[in-house]
Subunit: 196 residues, 2 copies
DNA sequence: TTTTATCTTGAGTGATCGCTCAAATCCAGC
DNA sequence: GCTGGATTTGAGCGATCACTCAAGATAAAA
């Protein structure tokens, strides 16, 4: 009996993701979304409830993709420190590919909406990322790759701050090569943690 | 014959700075400004021209204050690398004092308004900060504090990215002590560049 | 073909946006 | 006290905001 939905939910979320990532939450108007999603306001609200709920769903999607990508890189390298270094080097290639924004959407959201309320989900996802970084440093210690005096928690916080800085830096008008150099310097420092 | 202005321009700019720094450009409405500045729309527009021009003027003020503060810390330390390390350690105290936001207003602006157009001034000021960092590293090299193999430009980019990351990190719900530890770790690394 | 449950439409809601301007207000000089 | 020129006021402008809902469109079931 039912008429089937004309829009694929995942594709629609990807279009919204691109828009929100580029313009931020407040600067993205319903009009913008109508055009990008090729949906009229009624459909958007029937599907997602509100602009805010749509944004949360988009954030979830962005976060899940980011965590998957991180996991991919870490498991592709048998060395935990090497995996973390690879992750940084890959961020150095940010400017090689067109993207809605070079900065991290989670950080953009955190800075736009403040530490409370609406950006709570962004912070949760950032916490997940950081936890994964810390786990990698713990793995490095257990494998004997990391000097025993090093604290995985502190290294994880530090790594997270570096990633946030690198990606915010990438949002500036900067040359491709300079970003590569910056990311490589950071990656080299991570690998320098390995005891020789 | 003229009636003298009722508002002090610098004090007014400071109030606007607090608001814009906390809420960002788009989320700060004229109504917010009217309340915070205790001015009616006509006065605001007579004094500053537009919301955008007011924001630019506020950015200038923020940038100048930041550059002065950086200069103060660098010149207070006879060692260039020590001065840069001090700057980082002082950022570790961000959460000890109440502020409109713990994140850097220039980075918030860059991420909110994108790399083009309206945030051009924010990028210029970030460039000035970075140039000052690079000059400090150059000074360190000339004093013989820095190993000759090190490139002041790259170190400056790296330092800038670290500061951006640290301050974005500080915007998260994080404990005071954790931010101190993070800043100290970064500062120690800068001082470790000194040849022993 | 008709029915029916679901999805989509888009004109229109009240609220708020940045902003304007004629009138009111104010104070220094006469 | 009066007057002239600068400042301040605030009602209100058109545009846009997020959002609603009655009506229309669609396709599977009867």
């Amino acid at each position: 009996m039912p008429r089937h939905a004309q829009h694929n939910r995942q594709e629609t979320l990807d279009k919204a993701l691109s828009l929100f990532w580029r313009k931020g939450f407040k600067a993205t108007s319903l009009k913008d979304l109508e055009d990008a999603l090729d949906m009229r306001p009624g459909s958007i609200y029937a599907s997602f409830g509100s602009k805010e709920k749509l944004f949360q769903e988009v954030l979830q999607r962005y976060g899940r993709q980011g965590l998957v990508e991180l996991e991919r890189i870490l498991t592709a390298n048998s060395s935990p420190l090497g995996g973390l270094a690879d992750y940084l080097r890959q961020l150095g290639e940010l400017r090689d590919t067109p993207r809605p924004s070079h900065a991290c959407m989670l950080v953009k959201t955190l800075l736009e909406l403040g530490p409370g309320g609406q950006s709570a989900l962004a912070q949760e996802i950032l916490d997940s990322m950081e936890t994964r970084f810390i786990d990698a440093f713990k793995a490095a210690r257990e494998v004997g790759e990391l000097a025993p005096g090093q604290d995985p928690e502190r290294l994880g916080h530090r790594f997270q701050a570096q990633v946030m800085g690198l990606r915010a830096y990438a949002e500036r008008k900067i040359e491709r090569a300079a970003l590569h150099a910056l990311a490589d310097d950071m990656a080299d420092d991570v690998e320098r943690l390995a005891r020789v």
